[in-house]
């Protein structure tokens, strides 16, 4: 299990059994309902977009999926098993994520960052590490190789020994993805992967996401860049004020009046709701 290879590419990108099934996920903070009864289904090898105005609860929903928040109600089932609300167990179950505001380990090298991502796929204990047993050496070698491989995969060869915080912004974003991929996930959650990127970098990011899908990894991506989302995703879900407004193919979502209204606002609405969640 520790040497698990990349998941084999799937032949079909939709229509298969659900990889992730979120049912009625609700998250309340005191009197504030950040996410209200959201359902989401992700199939293997699918790219699902999650969009919505600022404060719609997208990141909160991600946090519910990854165990960082315990949802007030609702269940999240991954590969047929209900997910725990402990982030590290979610990661070992096969869901990896990146963060909206880059959260690398700034004073570790790029390679070390990726190797940390291997943590849930390695198992050597402290005693074996101190004794430098054969298992330790094997795992270390594999983590190292896999780390370099992933750095190359996201297009960061040659940066292995650089401190994460000294990397250019775009590389930091890519490093976060490499680190997340290191845990051999079946589902990758990307939280605004192109925030702050220029158009060129954004294009590269969408190529990268497609490459990830080719590995058979399903991707859920939060993004504000509509061109990025609609050009990339198989399905898009729109979250507004904690509720799922629409879900469907990019074409459907793009032409939905409610979505346009949610983004631009309805001209005649007497009390247009202000988005206050962060």
């Amino acid at each position: 299990m520790s040497t698990q290879a990349r998941p084999a590419p799937t032949q079909e990108s939709s229509g298969g059994p659900a990889l992730l099934e979120a049912r009625g996920v609700t998250m309340r903070f005191g009197g504030l309902t950040a996410v209200s009864s959201v359902d989401l289904e992700v199939r293997q090898g699918e790219i699902v977009g999650l969009i919505g105005p600022n404060g719609a609860g997208k990141t909160t929903f991600f946090n519910c999926l990854t165990g960082m928040y315990q949802p007030t109600s609702g269940t999240v089932v991954y590969k047929g098993a209900t997910l725990s609300s402990k982030p590290y167990l979610v990661t070992s179950a096969g869901i990896a994520r990146t963060f909206q505001n880059i959260r690398l380990f700034p004073n570790m090298t790029a390679l070390e960052n990726v190797m940390v991502g291997r943590h849930s796929r390695t198992s050597v204990g402290i005693l074996s590490a101190i004794g430098r047993g054969p298992k330790y050496r094997r795992e270390e070698r594999e983590s190292d190789e896999r780390g370099r491989e992933l750095l190359a995969f996201v297009g960061m060869d040659g940066t292995a020994d650089m401190l994460a915080k000294n990397l250019p912004y775009g590389d930091q974003r890519r490093l976060e993805i490499a680190r997340a991929l290191a845990s051999d996930p079946g589902l990758l959650l990307l939280d605004e992967p192109t925030a702050g990127m220029n158009p060129q970098e954004t294009r590269e990011a969408s190529v990268l996401v497609r490459k990830i899908r080719e590995l058979g990894i399903a991707v859920v991506v939060i993004e504000h860049d509509m061109r990025f989302i609609f050009g990339l995703c198989d399905r898009v879900a729109v979250l507004v004020r904690g509720q799922k407004l629409v879900e469907g193919t990019p074409d459907v979502v793009q032409s939905d009046e409610r979505v346009i209204a949610a983004y631009i606002g309805e001209p005649a609405a007497p009390d247009s709701p202000e988005e206050t969640l962060s």
Binding site: M68, P87, Y88, R97, R103, R121, I126
Partner: protein, 585 residues
């Protein structure tokens, strides 16, 4: 006449005043004359040390004699002569080869050290005698000449030479490593041999100056690269040097006793370094774990005052001490490690005190009679292992060694063990997970790290090592009392780690040596120790927050704009890029 900042000097944030001085001096002294002027000033300063400086012969080293430098004057002669040599040799082919990073920085450092010693000595003569009248004209002349030397040093053009340390044949590099370590041992033994505090102070300044100057000419990076290539050899050689130390002391127990205490302290500091330096858990009650081990060691030692009659072999005691301490660590850690940062510090501080107060009260009147309360357990007998009596002097290689040498050797073995644990844990997924937790706990959890469990592992692991060392400490100090495990000792341990450089073995070692040795050398320190200590820490945080021997990662963290930020190469006065990281500890 450009006064462009010199990256190699780390002078990017130099004060404007100094820049103006440099500009003036460099305008006054033409480039080609600068080095000869420095050399002349240096030789003159050296010569002035041959004059009498004091009227009273009571000042250590007898500075009343003409033509024969004594005490601190010797160091003035040495430093000044070195300044002259470095200044002259610098531009020659040999200088370019052997002083690859340039010599201006070294000249300035050396002349600064010279001035410091001269001023300190003259001031000490005046204070000791009761006025400047006790200073002979030779002393004043030395001050003037040394200041001239300092000014002349500013006339040199800043270093610009960048270099890459070359690779030499392995035997050559081994010899260099050996020589450096041998020199360190020699300097250390020499330091111990100097009895008079003022002379020792001058010596300390001289050694520090020499070390900094050596790093400025590029030797720090050269040696750092060599020891990096042969880390195994370096570590082994360092321990051999440490093991050679008792042979320099022979049957004299005075410094062997101190060395035995340093050995304990340093080993515990390395253990604490796992908790603080790697996992980033600020543990202010670490000394309690040493205490648990020490009490286990004392209670089972067969001491008359012990309340437990059972006296197993020492190795068993050691394991029991480690196990009890680990248990204590888990009991404390399990509920508290959910806290972060400052809260954890406060809770560990509290638990450390709870340990001391509990031990104080297990005296038969406030609680069950186990620890004899404040009286502690005196008369812990000397260790006996496999028929080897640690309480007797032994003759090894024809040298009779005081009995503290036995403990010292044993501690070295223990230290090797702790260092191996530290280094190997650090280079594994466990170590990476610890550092990840230190860097960003939330992200670490999201990467599949069971943060509570790994923090507990670091905490309990550190406790285990401290408990193990504690059982030895009980025998070294021969009595165990609650007072030995006060909060202030935790602070001292932490200070040794921070002072030396967090997350690095050498740092904790150096910090321990300095913290335990200086009070021994300066007895007047004893009552003002904490004052100096606080001052030193504040200065450290301002000027070198990464510690004296930072690990490469932290050096880069604090001096990321500094090209020279390697282990020894970063100058002590280097600008601080991001001091804010410090408060996260």
């Amino acid at each position: 006449m450009s006064t462009a900042t010199a990256p190699a000097l780390g002078a990017t944030s130099r004060s404007g005043v100094l820049d103006r001085v440099d500009a003036r001096v460099q305008a006054a002294v033409p480039d080609r004359l600068a080095r000869p002027v420095v050399a002349v000033a240096a030789l003159a300063t050296a010569a002035s040390a041959f004059l009498a400086w004091a009227y009273s012969g009571s000042f250590p080293g007898n500075l009343t004699v003409y033509g024969y430098p004594g005490g601190a004057q010797v160091y003035v002669v040495v430093l000044a002569a070195l300044t002259a040599v470095v200044a002259v040799v610098g531009p020659t082919p040999a200088g370019r080869r052997f002083l690859p990073a340039g010599t201006t920085g070294a000249v300035r450092v050396l002349s600064f050290g010279t001035v410091a010693i001269v001023l300190f000595t003259v001031a000490a003569i005046a204070v000791e005698g009761g006025g400047l009248v006790w200073v002979v004209w030779g002393g004043f002349l030395a001050v003037v000449l040394a200041l001239l030397l300092l000014a002349a040093g500013r006339a040199l053009r800043p270093d610009e030479r960048r270099f890459r340390p070359g690779v030499h044949p392995a035997p050559v590099e081994f010899v260099v490593i050996g020589l450096v370590l041998g020199a360190a041992l020699f300097a250390f033994v020499e330091a111990l041999a100097i009895a008079e505090p003022p002379v020792f102070a001058a010596y300390a300044i001289a050694v520090a100056t020499g070390v900094v100057a050596a790093s400025r000419v590029g030797w720090g990076r050269v040696i750092g690269a060599m020891s990096g290539r042969h880390s195994g050899v370096t570590v082994t050689a360092a321990f051999l040097m440490a093991a050679a130390f008792p042979f320099t002391q022979g049957a004299d127990n005075r410094w062997l006793n101190v060395a035995a205490n340093i050995g304990i302290f340093a080993t515990v500091a390395i253990g604490l370094n796992i908790v603080v330096g790697l996992a980033g858990l600020l543990d202010l009650g670490y000394i309690a774990f040493l205490g648990v081990g020490a009490y286990v060691g004392a209670l089972l030692s067969g001491a008359a005052a012990s309340t437990i009659g059972w006296h197993p072999p020492f190795l068993v005691i050691m394991l029991l001490g480690a196990a009890s301490s680990a248990l204590f660590g888990i009991i404390i850690g399990a509920p508290t490690l959910r806290l972060r940062g400052d809260y954890l510090a406060i809770v560990t501080l509290g638990f450390g005190e709870i340990f001391r107060i509990t031990v104080n009260n297990l005296d038969g009147s406030s609680g069950p009679k186990i620890t004899n309360g404040p009286n502690g357990i005196p008369g812990v007998p000397d260790l006996k292992m496999f028929g080897f009596d640690f309480g007797q002097p032994h003759t090894i290689f024809g040298v009779e060694l005081g009995y503290f040498a036995n403990y010292f050797f044993f501690e070295l073995l223990l230290m090797v063990f702790v260092v191996i644990v530290f280094v190997r844990a650090n280079a594994s997924r466990i170590g990476r997970a610890w550092v990840a937790i230190r860097e960003d706990e939330t992200a670490a959890a999201a990467m599949g790290i069971n943060t509570v469990r790994l923090k507990l592992l670091a905490f309990a692991g550190g406790a285990t090592l401290a408990g193990m060392v504690g059982t030895v400490q009980a025998h070294v100090t021969s009595s165990v009392t609650p007072d030995q495990y006060q909060f202030i000792n935790s602070a001292f341990l932490l200070a040794a780690v921070v002072l030396g450089g967090m997350g690095r073995v050498q740092g904790a070692l150096l910090g321990s040596v300095l913290l335990l040795l200086l009070p021994e050398k300066f007895r007047f320190f004893a009552d003002k120790q904490l004052l100096f200590f606080g001052l030193a820490l504040v200065l450290m945080m301002r000027f070198r927050p990464e510690g004296l021997i930072p690990n490469a990662r932290r050096a880069r963290e604090f001096h990321e704009h500094d090209d020279e930020a390697d282990a020894l190469g970063a100058p002590p006065g280097a600008p601080v890029a991001h001091a804010t990281k410090v408060d996260r500890l």
